[in-house]
């Protein structure tokens, strides 16, 4: 993904020069002719990866701009460079004292400026990857995972699942399989509303509650999905720590003896089913609203008839979000048609997943899919 640079300079010629230089070398640039304009851009668009600013500009200068950024929690850590023709030692020191990574003179050859920017972005990336790998290592050691290592092997069903994180960071999607005995297996797919680390962190709270609710109901011999969801929702609602954090949940109970499947959901996307000789997938929509929103939410259970070779697809919303030619949209129908076409072409599960995980469009959230297939008699 291209790094975004915000360039701020009152000299349009300079701005265009550096914009061309950076764009030609794989950066995406936004340009501002004043601090006011830069602030509007920062409000309107996503946070850039780097800010390069001139010092001397009418109204407010680069130092004033930098001082204001340092007071903003969202922007204070964005790498900042001064690129200016005001190169008096006193100014250089003042600029660097404002936690600018560098103070560069405009008379430095553009290629050297480009090398500095490249090196800086590389250093930021390396630092980030080191930190990420440390956190991932700790999570691994603590056995903190919101996506299991394997799916259980069942007699009459096969389960495949895939999760792709967004920008290499863990996300709020969580998956779990709880095999109670040879007959009953629960399949869980949830999505904490949010992205990246925040959502990842909260996914463990939800996952623990889901596991507990299922186990406690099963101890009482209760396999009714609405009862499990109702209890789960009440406990999530009562947890002040989760008061403004919400999660979707799809829950499936596989009965491996009777070859039956029941499904319930909370604010989740519909469960999709592939049957031969139909024009599209069948969609099952649950009634439940998001976990934690209302104490007295009502959940329904849907019995899903599944014959040999038929497949169910459980998904989270990342998989229906697409970015095509810079325009982002959510499109459930597109996903449904895509899966149906791939199934009609008798593509293997791996090929289907490869296609769904947006080869030709940019992924904009973490994505998960669980595919449950009823085996045919010969394959058993």
């Amino acid at each position: 993904m291209n790094k975004t640079v915000l360039l701020v300079d009152d000299d349009l010629f300079q701005l265009k020069l550096y914009e061309k230089l950076l764009t030609n070398h794989g950066y995406h640039c936004r340009i501002a002719l004043s601090v006011d304009e830069a602030e509007s851009i920062l409000k309107e668009y996503d946070i850039p990866d780097l800010i390069i600013s001139d010092y001397e500009m009418p109204d407010r200068n680069g130092f004033e701009f930098r001082k204001k950024l340092l007071k903003n929690d969202l922007l204070k850590n964005v790498p900042f460079l001064f690129l200016t023709s005001v190169n008096d030692e006193h100014f250089i020191q003042q600029g660097l004292d404002l936690k600018a990574i560098d103070y560069m003179a405009k008379d430095v050859p553009p290629t050297r400026i480009l090398s500095k920017i490249n090196n800086l972005m590389l250093a930021v990336r390396e630092h980030y990857e080191r930190s990420l790998s440390e956190v991932k290592g700790i999570a691994e050691r603590l056995n903190l995972r919101n996506i299991p290592k394997t799916a259980p092997a069942l007699k009459n069903f096969s389960i495949n699942y895939y999760n792709k994180s967004y920008q290499e960071q863990p996300g709020g999607d969580f998956i779990d399989f709880i095999k109670i005995d040879d007959r009953h297996t629960f399949v869980i797919l949830g999505d904490v509303m949010g992205k990246k680390w925040g959502a990842w962190f909260f996914s463990f709270s939800f996952l623990s509650y889901v596991r507990s609710a299922i186990r406690l109901c099963v101890f009482d011999g209760d396999y009714e999905l609405p009862t499990i969801l109702h209890k789960l929702n009440r406990v999530v609602y009562a947890d002040e720590f989760l008061s403004d954090i919400f999660s979707t949940l799809s829950i499936i109970l596989i009965d491996d003896e009777n070859c039956s499947i029941s499904y319930a959901g909370a604010g989740d996307l519909p469960l999709l089913k592939y049957e031969k000789n139909r024009d599209d997938l069948i969609s099952y929509q649950s009634d439940g609203i998001l976990l934690g929103f209302s104490e007295e939410a009502v959940y329904n259970e849907i019995a899903v008839d599944i014959q040999e070779e038929e497949e169910l697809f459980l998904i989270t919303d990342g998989i229906i979000d697409f970015e095509i030619n810079g325009v982002k949209k959510s499109d459930m129908k597109l996903l449904s048609h895509k899966i149906h076409d791939l199934k009609e072409r008798k593509e293997l599960t791996e090929t289907i997943v490869d296609n769904l995980f947006n080869k030709h469009t940019s992924q904009i959230d973490d994505c998960s899919i669980i595919i449950i297939k009823r085996k045919n008699n010969e394959a058993k």
Binding site: K195, S243, L269, Q285, I289, S330, D365
Partner: protein
Amino acid sequence: MKLSKQTINDVLVIVIENKEANLSKSEQFKEMMFKDIEDGSHNLVISFENVEYLDSSFLGALVAVLKKLLPLKGKLVLTHLNEDIRNLFELTRLDKIFSIESNIEISLQQF
């Protein structure tokens, strides 16, 4: 996060000026709305006329705003949702918990 605000008949009408309502704005949006609510604005209309895409982080922020308003007997009406966003609300049953209207004028009649 760019918001325009206007009070009409004791209802705070907020127009989101960004094209994308996403993760980078959701936390800030939630805080801004919480502040308005704490300052006494309990009747809100939020217009999405400029919003082309809304992600789940932002949906989460909207649900949090609504949840905060309920015990205060406040009301939140969403308006000008484009077809994609409207579909997303319907698919995830959020249309059951939010009041959704086609324009600001009709939204104001809900108070």
